[in-house]
């Protein structure tokens, strides 16, 4: 696909192959609401390499979904203001004209949503939902597009794809529908796949199947994936790097192994400790995080997590901590004045969270 470039984008493409696939710089996304301006994404910067998998983890309201939609350029223009920059293969996404975005959507960046029932059109056969973007972005004719659609359904593990391609979404189970949305997303061999809670609401067995499928397709196609989720379990074994978001900020980012081995941010630790584990004996007391995320219309001064943090000091409440690098590992970033001791991250506990 990189060989058949048209004259107009030949130059940026040639230049880009070396650099990162996606560069987000100081992105700020603000919605105007009746109560005031809500900054959902507040100064986020990140880079994503080709073929890399990045997990974005956070609770609802942390800005993880808004961030992924901003990258896609999918947010409504009215009532949304954006600053900063999102460069995808050299193309600026922030405030890009619709024509530019249309060339990118589906063809270069594709998205898998949480709810396959609402992201699929209920009255259109699966065949047309897949071939639509093929016909739009490639020169395939009808027959070729249909053949590709059937082959895609086969690749995402749908049995008897030649028959299923004529089905409507309601004739499939939830897991099958999510496979179809993945097939649609993959139709034009995108460079980047954004998966926003792709397995939330699915059964554990189906969840594992879908995650396996995403990993194998990604390896085959050398595609970058951003996996957005609230579940640390989902990202633990399936990502190269993880970014933890809280109140619109990235509060910690590191390679997956590094993050779990020596997390620096008390919030990351709290999130991990509140997740029940199958390997713990039953009735293991969970460490719940006190309170709730801050109101993003009137965010607190200082560190946004300070009111719920066991380690917060006076400094945390006054001054917002900048994102800085860990001394031992320059790729490990965190925003905390009192980071957890490296190597002890998994063992430091307090009982404040108990009821």
């Amino acid at each position: 696909m990189s060989n058949d470039t048209t004259a107009t984008d030949a130059f940026p493409q040639a230049e880009d192959l070396s650099g990162p696939l996606l560069t987000v710089k100081d992105l700020r996304t603000t919605f105007s609401t009746p109560r005031g301006d809500l900054t959902a994404v507040d100064g986020v910067s990140l880079e994503l390499g080709r073929g890399e998998t990045l997990g974005i983890v956070g609770e609802s309201g942390s800005g993880k979904t808004v961030l992924s939609r901003s990258i896609m350029g999918l947010l409504p223009r009215s009532k949304t203001t954006q600053s900063g920059s999102i460069l995808f293969e050299g193309t600026e996404i922030v405030d890009a004209p619709d024509a530019t975005l249309r060339d990118i959507w589906g063809a270069k960046i594709a998205m898998v949503f949480q709810d396959p029932m609402t992201s699929l059109n209920p009255v259109v056969r699966i065949e047309r939902q897949i071939t639509e973007s093929l016909r739009l972005h490639t020169t395939m004719d009808k027959a070729e597009a249909k053949a590709t659609a059937i082959s895609l359904l086969g690749q995402v593990g749908i049995p008897s794809p030649a028959e299923r391609v004529r089905a409507y979404p309601f004739q499939l189970s939830g897991g099958m529908r999510q496979r179809v949305t993945i097939a649609i997303a993959l139709a034009c061999s995108p460079r980047l796949l954004l998966a926003d809670e792709p397995t939330t609401g699915l059964d554990v067995t189906v969840q594992a199947q879908i995650l396996d499928l995403l990993s194998s397709l990604q390896a085959e196609r050398h595609m970058a994936v951003i996996l957005v989720t609230h579940d640390l379990g989902v990202v633990a074994t399936r990502t190269d790097r993880i970014a933890v978001m809280y109140a619109g900020h990235i509060v910690e980012m590191a390679s997956t192994r590094r993050l779990f081995a020596s997390m620096a941010m008390p919030y990351t630790q709290a999130l991990l400790k509140s997740t029940p584990r199958i390997s713990d004996p039953s009735h293991t007391r969970l460490t719940a995080i006190d309170g709730r995320p801050p109101d993003l219309i009137n965010p607190p001064t200082g560190c946004a997590f300070a009111p719920r943090c066991d380690y917060a000091t006076e400094q945390c409440r006054i001054e917002a901590p900048p994102l800085r690098t860990a001394p031992e590992d320059p790729t490990h970033l965190f925003a905390c004045w009192n980071p957890l001791q490296t190597g002890h991250a998994g063992t430091v506990t307090t009982a404040k969270g108990e009821l």
Binding site: E59, D203, T205, A208, S279, L355
Partner: protein
């Protein structure tokens, strides 16, 4: 848990079927279990396995087709309308969707007081005192929360209000149907801890229905695994997770994702999805997806039998402990 000989809640050969067009779907196809006083029984399985229907049939929101449900030896099935209404105060239910569980147009204090108003058990100052006590018990400030409407609360707080309402009549049994699956992990932990505390404080007996195996293990004393309307395996939770005997339980456990990169990514042996309950497989219902299935599984329904103390399994070829 107390090891009393008479169970508090008994479910005996419960069957619930629905009509779907001309066909009859058996959502629950004859299941039996006991729950002892002060115990938490977890009920897990994939969606469509009948676990929620079982919970709803126990409180008779769903009418059982046949079988018996008894609380403290008293039959719930077969009760007339007004007797059933009375019996319902001893067995309460909490639902999955925290927002839809609360009437959006009523104040929190009236929502919590609803059972008291229905039964005229308490009026005036006494009623207010009980409501305050319950709201405090679930971790909400009665002065702030009481006058507000459900829309002003987050999902976790709405679930707390639901719990307060369910406990206001001091029930014996609480059925929790996916009560934390719509919540964020941090809030989920708060609610799970709260449930454990309230269980101890009010001496509750719980049936905890969920699809998340880690959550179920955390709160349950015993766990029952359901597949396509039948029970596969019932065992004390630590036993079940350490030594699963049924191939389906093993498959479910292998699919669990753990927040630990050092553990290999889970790969399910299980392919496909459960067959339709309209036309379930003969014999063992799991045989179509079972790696161990043999001819016998197609002809003979495996009965739930004890393979170790308090560990029951319905499989012809269970994995027995060494």
């Amino acid at each position: 848990m107390s090891a009393e000989s008479t169970p508090l809640l008994t479910v005996n050969d419960l069957v619930v079927s629905f009509k779907k067009g001309r066909q009859v779907v058996q959502a629950v196809a004859g299941i039996s279990f006991d729950v002892f006083e002060g115990e938490t029984l977890g009920l897990v399985g994939e969606s469509g396995c009948g676990k929620s229907t079982t919970g709803r049939a126990i409180v008779r929101i769903e009418e059982p087709t046949s079988g018996e449900v008894a609380v403290e030896g008293r039959q719930l099935t077969g009760l007339g309308r007004s007797e059933l209404r009375k019996a319902r105060t001893s067995i309460q239910m909490i639902f999955q969707d925290p927002v839809s569980s609360l009437n959006p147009r009523r104040r929190v204090k009236d929502i919590v007081a609803e059972p008291l108003d229905i039964w005229k058990t308490a009026e005036g100052a006494e009623r207010d005192a009980i409501v305050r006590e319950m709201l405090e018990a679930v971790g909400l400030d009665p002065d702030v929360a009481g006058e507000r409407f459900p829309r002003e609360f987050s999902g976790g707080q709405c679930q707390r209000i639901s719990i307060a309402r369910a406990l206001v009549m001091k029930p014996k049994v609480l059925i929790c149907d996916e009560m934390v699956s719509a919540l964020d992990v941090s809030v989920q932990a708060q609610i799970l801890n709260l449930v454990e505390d309230l269980k101890a404080k009010y001496g509750l007996t719980l049936v905890f229905i969920a699809h998340d195996l880690a959550v179920v293990k955390n709160v349950s004393d015993r766990v029952a695994v359901m597949y396509l309307g039948r029970l596969c395996e019932v065992a004390p939770s630590d036993d079940l997770y350490a030594l699963p005997a049924h191939p389906y339980t093993q498959a479910l456990l292998s699919a669990v994702v753990e927040p630990d990169p050092e553990k290999a990514a889970s790969h399910v042996a299980l392919t496909g999805e459960p067959p339709s309950p309209i036309n379930p497989p003969s014999g063992c219902r799991f045989r179509t997806r079972c790696p161990k299935a043999e001819e016998r599984c197609a002809t003979e329904v495996p009965e739930l039998r004890e393979i170790a103390p308090r560990h029951q399994v319905a499989c012809h070829f269970p994995t027995l402990r060494a």
